[in-house]
């Protein structure tokens, strides 16, 4: 197959295309702003092509254990496993490479872009949102930078795309232009920019001045260059500097970002942006510090406890939220800490579990967000206490929500069970019994804050008058929901483009359960090499 494609269509080409296509889609959006159908169709095709390019990168690498060389990186790319695009500082280039974790992340992000774009078109039109062109153009730029983050061959390149991702998503958060949107986006940009420029950048420059390289190398680059108290300090600068990982106390941007239209919350604030954060966290753990260094010096132990605390605290805060999207946001804060925890455990299974959790949580959480959006489109309800009885009118939406929620909780036969399992194994390897307990308690908390909505939707009766604009919390969005007759008589299922995508991702949660072994084997070179 590869031979037939000839010399032009190499892995390198597809790698480049995965970045170029979303970028071109952004430009195309601006050019086609006068014809919405053409614009949205073009973006859909671009999303498909991006996904195809990433799949082609995967296919071009070969299969099984041949895919990655003995050092855990994809061999045969560029001169020495890297494609150097341009040298910004002497010895410091914008460069791309392929390794298992990044490829997995790119696959998820580009695959879910296809689904989310379809959903986004339905949502934006069904909801009469304005400025579609700006919205989809920024969205495409965000995907491009996500691809850049996923394939970055050094910390410098990663940082570059990380910041483009922050900036390109700012207009999306501020999209509605209302005072809440403005203040939310202010928090969003403020926390993300300040952490990255004021904490992360000094950490990167520190690494650069002590080691003379920023390349992601198996086994890490810091070993032998930093010692003693400097290791936990540098790790702290990275951990807090990566604001997108939403480690407390720098988590507030994530609930604040929930003012964005739901497709943004779904793809960006459940998948691309937050996963870029924890992905970076795993990357620095594996390729900058090296798991061995962390395990030997115990430098990440404090981070492990902090992550454990975040898991529980954010879950508890989530239970107090009545606004569905805010509850999901705090749930994301909690779930992201699972992945940080996986890195901080500094064991092989912890890292692989963290990597797998990127995939399983992405599918689960995007399902939940898309369902929240579908409920909003159909009923203009945002508060959980108003959603009684909706399940019977919207069976597909609530069914998908149930599956997504169960995957987050970690019940078989859903993907989430495996990543949680691996994390527990990782904790056991590290001999941290308390962490195992935290993971289990967290599952119970997940049940407590996710499943009541499903029960409320299917089993409670819609309380008549309360659905009418009486609810002051939802007053800003009461919309046409207020015009409906009491009860569920006027309610219908959300439009096809709004319920089908979450149904697809919910199915993905089930499929991932059976494919988890494959993904695990795929990720293993991360920890066995170097």
């Amino acid at each position: 197959m590869e031979m037939e494609l000839g010399t032009f269509l190499t892995v390198e080409t597809f790698l480049g295309l995965a970045l170029v296509i979303p970028g071109a889609a952004a430009v195309g959006n601006l050019l086609l702003r006068r014809s919405p159908d053409l614009r949205d169709g073009m973006t859909f095709i671009a999303a498909l092509l991006t996904f195809f390019s990433v799949v082609a990168v995967l296919g071009g690498l070969g299969t099984g254990s041949d895919a990655f060389g003995p050092d855990g990186l994809a061999s045969g790319i560029g001169e020495d496993g890297q494609i150097r695009l341009i040298e910004v500082f002497p010895g410091l280039a914008i460069a791309l490479h392929v390794e298992p974790l990044g490829l997995l992340f790119a696959l998820i992000a580009s695959g879910l872009w296809v689904v989310t774009h379809a959903y986004g078109v339905g949502y934006m039109r069904g909801n009469d949102e304005k400025h579609h062109t700006r919205f989809f153009a920024c969205f495409s730029v965000a995907i491009m930078s996500t691809m850049g983050v996923a394939f970055a061959a050094n910390m410098f390149t990663l940082f570059l795309f990380y910041e483009i991702l922050t900036i390109s998503t700012y207009p999306l958060v501020a999209h509605k232009g209302t005072p809440e949107a403005v203040s939310g986006s202010r928090t969003y940009l403020g926390v993300l920019l300040l952490t990255s420029i004021c904490i992360q950048m000094p950490a990167i420059i520190w690494t650069w001045t002590t080691t003379g390289t920023l390349d992601f190398q198996p086994g890490g680059i810091l070993d032998g260059h930093v010692t003693g108290w400097m290791v936990p300090l540098l790790l702290g600068l990275y951990a807090f500097g990566i604001g997108k990982a939403a480690l407390m106390p720098f988590h507030r941007w994530l609930p604040a970002a929930m003012v964005a239209p739901t497709p943004v919350s779904a793809l960006l604030h459940a998948v691309a942006v937050v996963k870029a954060g924890v992905f970076t966290m795993l990357k620095i753990g594996v390729y900058i510090f090296g798991i061995d260094l962390l395990a030997r010096t115990g430098a990440s132990e404090w981070l492990m406890w902090l992550a454990a605390w975040c898991i529980l605290a954010a879950s508890l805060v989530a239970m107090l939220q009545d606004n569905l999207k805010r509850r999901l946001a705090y749930s994301t804060v909690s779930q992201l800490s699972y992945i940080t925890l996986g890195m901080a455990l500094a064991t092989s299974m912890g890292v692989v579990g963290g990597g797998l959790h990127i995939a399983t949580h992405a599918l689960g959480k995007i399902t939940l967000f898309m369902c929240a959006g579908a409920i909003y489109v159909a009923t203009h309800k945002t508060e959980i206490s108003d959603m009684s009885g909706l399940g019977r009118a919207m069976p597909f939406t609530f069914g998908a929500f149930l599956i997504g929620a169960l995957s987050i909780v970690g019940l078989p036969p859903l993907g989430g069970s495996w990543s949680k399992w691996l994390l527990i194994v990782g904790a056991a390897d590290a001999g941290e019994r308390l962490i195992i307990a935290v993971l289990l308690v967290s599952s119970i908390l997940n049940v407590a804050y996710l499943l009541p909505l499903v029960g409320r939707g299917f089993f409670l009766k819609a309380h008549g008058p309360r659905t009418v604009p009486a609810s002051p919390a939802g007053a800003g969005v009461s919309g046409n929901g207020g015009g409906l007759a009491p009860g569920t008589s006027g309610l219908r299922e959300a439009p096809l483009l709004c319920w089908l995508p979450p149904a697809v991702t919910a199915a993905g949660c089930v499929i991932l359960f059976f494919w988890a072994g494959t993904v695990r084997d795929f990720l293993l070179p991360l920890v066995t090499a170097g």
Binding site: I86, E87, V88, F89, P90, I94, F159, L160, Y162, E163, I164, I167, A174, G177, V182, R186, L189, G190, L193, L194, I197, C198, M201, P202, I205, W206, W208, T209
Partner: protein, 531 residues
């Protein structure tokens, strides 16, 4: 005689590039006045600036690999005659100044039409040409007294240019007067110091001065001369406690003039400071006087933090940008204070990067003046939506000012932090970062004003044409919609440059490193020898 003639014949135009850079605008200025026609003045300004640009580009290409070009004026060999000496450091600054001049002119046509009565235009372009040639002369020359002469040429014309803002706001006159007094004090200090040096060494040629100073060793007169020169130049640079003239001059001068000054005038002065610190007084001498740690570092930090902080409280965009310029002078000084190659490279590259960034932002401010007649936040609220193309460029400029990766500002900030780490001054790195934080606050406020705040109905939505201020106002285009094309093109050229030099640093970083190395080796790169 015969040998002289032969030498004369053998010189081609390429050999005369060092003087051509300065001479083109210098000759064009009086010609413009003699012709006395506004369009002729414009044409001459463009021609002269482009000639300077081409010449400085050719010069930079010759010296970017190291070494220097020595050009004796009138064939009188140094140290008797005046020598122009071009190496990587000044060729790079020459390129910045002439490039900014070239980009700025089309913008200035439109902006000056709006802000200055037509009858003054010929003289304004003449002043611009003199100012340009003065700035280029300061940078190109290798003669101490010649620096003073060109410093005065550029300063005198700058005072006039600043005062032209009085047609928009009468306070421009006091601002120009302030600047005149402070600038003159600075120049006097400078010439006193120079006089002392001449008294001690009997020479004014910088390279010769360097040799003789080194031969004499430090003494009290030398220290006094050093102090006079550093303080005099610092006034021109607007280093922290000597900065008061700058915000007034920048916020009240005509918008186009501010664009030009912000990107070039302080940059040329910083260059003079570098030259005297590193080439005339050697690095060892400077270190021995404790100037870097005891004087430059505290002032740099104060400028970075205090000026950024003061900028937060401004309600006028141009004034905020002026204070931010002062903060950036702090960055430049910090690089000097570090006294290592990376620090000095950071200073030199930041001269360039900040020059294009700030020119871009002031151009945006000028475009806003064209629309609403002021840059107060209350008046420009919501204009981002009615001027989308212009405002998008301003966002790029703002990001570059903050130092977001992928922009020019990031490159210099990265180098500066890296150099601080190398020197072991972690606190300096932390303060750079803290100052960045304040810059984020400042620029963010501007973005919110432009994009998110709704237009203020009470504000003066339409700029008053200048008919009442005397003379025909020229064609005032529609006062709604985006900035005119003549402004948008220069603005976007700079916006693209901000991104370009943030990714491809071959030219800027390459030149800066060669320049920093040659400066740190002392003696005007004498070790390398002439090309």
């Amino acid at each position: 005689m015969a040998a002289g003639a032969a030498e004369h014949v053998s010189r081609t135009l390429a050999d005369h590039l060092p003087i051509l850079v300065v001479l083109a605008p210098f000759v064009a200025a009086p010609v413009a006045v003699v012709i006395g026609n506004r369009n002729a003045a414009r044409t001459l300004a463009v021609l002269a600036t482009v000639i300077s640009l081409v010449a400085s580009w050719l010069l930079l290409r010759q010296v970017v690999g190291g070494g220097y070009i020595s050009y004796p004026i009138g064939g009188w060999p140094p140290p008797i005659g005046i020598e122009y000496r071009i190496d990587a450091a000044n060729a790079f600054v020459l390129l910045l100044i002439s490039a900014i001049g070239t980009v700025f002119l089309p913008y200035a046509f439109r902006s000056l039409d709006h802000e200055i009565p037509w009858r003054n235009h010929t003289l304004v372009y003449c002043c611009y040409l003199l100012c340009l040639s003065g700035l280029l002369g300061i940078v190109a020359t290798g003669d101490g007294f010649n620096v003073f002469v060109f410093l005065e040429i550029s300063s005198l014309s700058t005072y006039i240019l600043v005062s032209q803002g009085c047609y928009r706001d009468k306070r421009a006159l006091t601002a120009a007067y302030d600047y005149l007094i402070m600038g003159t004090i600075g120049a006097v200090f400078f010439v006193i110091g120079l006089g002392m040096l001449y008294m001690m060494t009997g020479t004014l040629n910088m390279a010769d001065l360097a040799d003789r100073i080194a031969a004499q060793g430090p003494n009290r007169t030398l220290l006094a001369a050093f102090a006079f020169i550093v303080v005099g130049v610092s006034l021109k640079v607007a280093i922290f406690p000597l900065h008061m003239w700058l915000p007034y001059a920048y916020s009240h001068a005509p918008s186009a003039v501010t664009v030009f000054l912000s990107a070039t005038a302080t940059k040329a002065s910083i260059y003079v400071l570098l030259r005297f610190l590193f080439s005339v007084f050697q690095p060892e001498f400077v270190v021995a006087t404790l100037t870097p740690q005891a004087v430059l570092l505290p002032l740099a930090i104060a400028a970075m933090v205090v000026m950024s902080f003061v900028a937060v409280f401004q309600t006028d965009l141009k004034r905020m940008l002026a204070y931010s310029s002062l903060a950036h002078v702090g960055y430049l000084l910090l690089g000097v204070a570090l006294m290592n190659v990376d620090g000095l490279s950071a200073t030199i590259i930041h001269l360039f990067n900040h020059g294009i960034t700030k020119a871009l932002l002031f151009m945006g401010a000028g475009a806003l003046v064209l629309r609403v007649g002021s840059t107060f936040y209350d008046d420009i609220a919501g204009l981002g939506r009615s001027m989308p193309v212009m405002s998008a460029a301003m966002v790029i400029g703002g990001l570059s000012l903050v130092g977001v990766p992928g922009t020019a500002g990031f490159v210099s900030k990265w180098l500066l932090v890296q150099a601080s780490f190398e020197r072991g001054w972690t606190f300096a790195a932390v303060l750079v970062v803290a100052s960045t934080l304040l810059t984020v606050v400042n620029m963010w406020r501007v973005f919110e004003v432009l994009y998110i705040r709704s237009p203020n109905p009470g504000s003066q939505r339409q700029s008053q044409p200048l008919t009442s201020a005397g003379g025909p106002a020229g064609r005032i285009a529609d006062t709604t919609g985006d900035a005119p094309l003549m402004m948008l093109v220069p603005i976007w050229i700079l916006a693209i440059a901000c991104i370009w030099f943030g990714i491809d640093t071959g030219l800027t970083l390459g030149s800066a490193q060669v320049a920093a190395e040659s400066l740190l080796s002392g003696s005007l790169g004498m070790a390398d020898g002439a090309i």
